[in-house]
Assembly symmetry: C2
Amino acid sequence: MNRAALFEQIKKKNSYLCVGLDTDLDKIPRHLLSSSDPIFEFNKQIIDATHQYCVAYKPNIAFYEALGPKGWESLEKTMNYIPEDIFTIADAKRGDIGNTSALYAKTFFDYFHFDSVTVAPYMGEDSVKPFLYPDKWVILLAHTSNPGSSDFQLIESVVTGRKLYEEVLIKSQQWATPDQLMFVVGATQAEKMESIRAQAPEHFFLVPGVGAQGGDLKMVSKYGMNKQCGLLVNSARAIIYAGNGQDFAQRATAEAVKVQEEMSNYLHKYAN
Amino acid sequence: MNRAALFEQIKKKNSYLCVGLDTDLDKIPRHLLSSSDPIFEFNKQIIDATHQYCVAYKPNIAFYEALGPKGWESLEKTMNYIPEDIFTIADAKRGDIGNTSALYAKTFFDYFHFDSVTVAPYMGEDSVKPFLYPDKWVILLAHTSNPGSSDFQLIESVVTGRKLYEEVLIKSQQWATPDQLMFVVGATQAEKMESIRAQAPEHFFLVPGVGAQGGDLKMVSKYGMNKQCGLLVNSARAIIYAGNGQDFAQRATAEAVKVQEEMSNYLHKYAN
């Protein structure tokens, strides 16, 4: 899905919500465990319950990998079930030498048909470029939302005066246009959102951390939005585990609607 | 496998060779393609041909992932086939927020029973620590051997004067002892090996890049070895694709023997 099509979906749904499919056998409703594939059954019902209110789904690949080959089958079925007009993100944090990154790209783009994959920048240009496919996206880690993000991402360069995450933002823009490259910017970095947006004015940001990780949707939207929205804000646990009984899907709908309505306001207020 | 046991294996075999199982359907001998699982059949014959001369096997996870669920099955069979006394490395370059890293650890340690996994440091402490299991190892990327390694790894901190890869070396030593933590140091960084060894005197280094990537085994050994050897040097393509016909396994043996004999010399010369 290209940038224009993504923005069309955002306008159509008045939403920039990404639903994180962090599907965990220990957390899904008990009554699903008798199904032949509880992970897929849960995802299917969550997708049915939320697809009108979100523009993207983001399976967290670790949750599927941890189940071995069966997990990959659940992921494959999930990908086949997600409607065509919804953007898909493989949250995989991959990145390796060129020939290896090319294989990871093959996995997520050719095998599973994701629109995008999250990539860790530590190994530099030749670890990132193999993910540049036509009409597919690299979502590069810039400033993440976890406690350890300050360990290395804030190291300031003696040469440029820029922090590591800023070096990633600036340097990677030489590798790909805003039509193929997004950045991960944690919602817990809301106070930095304005300066990060100034360094990458046109790019989409994938913003995890609203909800369970404690980010602030209003601040993120106010300081992070650009004219084409430029934001995909992820919420996983707060939506998919809103309920834990027979009504879990309705509860997920209610949470998704709540976020979507808030987003609708911000879109009219800030995306101009 | 703990550090003492690993060093025992190194002394017993006079080798610190790690064989990289970068097994690729496009590169394995044609006559294996009629097998029900050509990837496993190739690995099995390579393991039979090389296990006396190496102390570790390193499946590059991308090669298995790219084949979907079937690839994971080939990996599982390969892991079951590797002899117990050989150290195993999941070359996966993972790393994510705590609960997600914990699931990646579960995948490679609990499901596949690897001894170690390679981890990318960009997200910091809480992305690394979930991989600290008893008698298991984190192999953290420090200075890699690919061209893009200079993009971010050489950024020098205005505060400490250390480069990013040195910050990784120093800071991560607060998170784990040399009994649970190794570093990836590319063989193409041979000229820096001495200073890197000074910053992490006791740790094992996993050194990729000897062979196809152009590293120099002698220089790596001379400047990188410590009293307990402290090196695992990986060779993949040069060994596993030494031949491409019916005799590919014998050709792999010949290459492995050649490297092992060279290593035997260096062990006696430098590991004192």
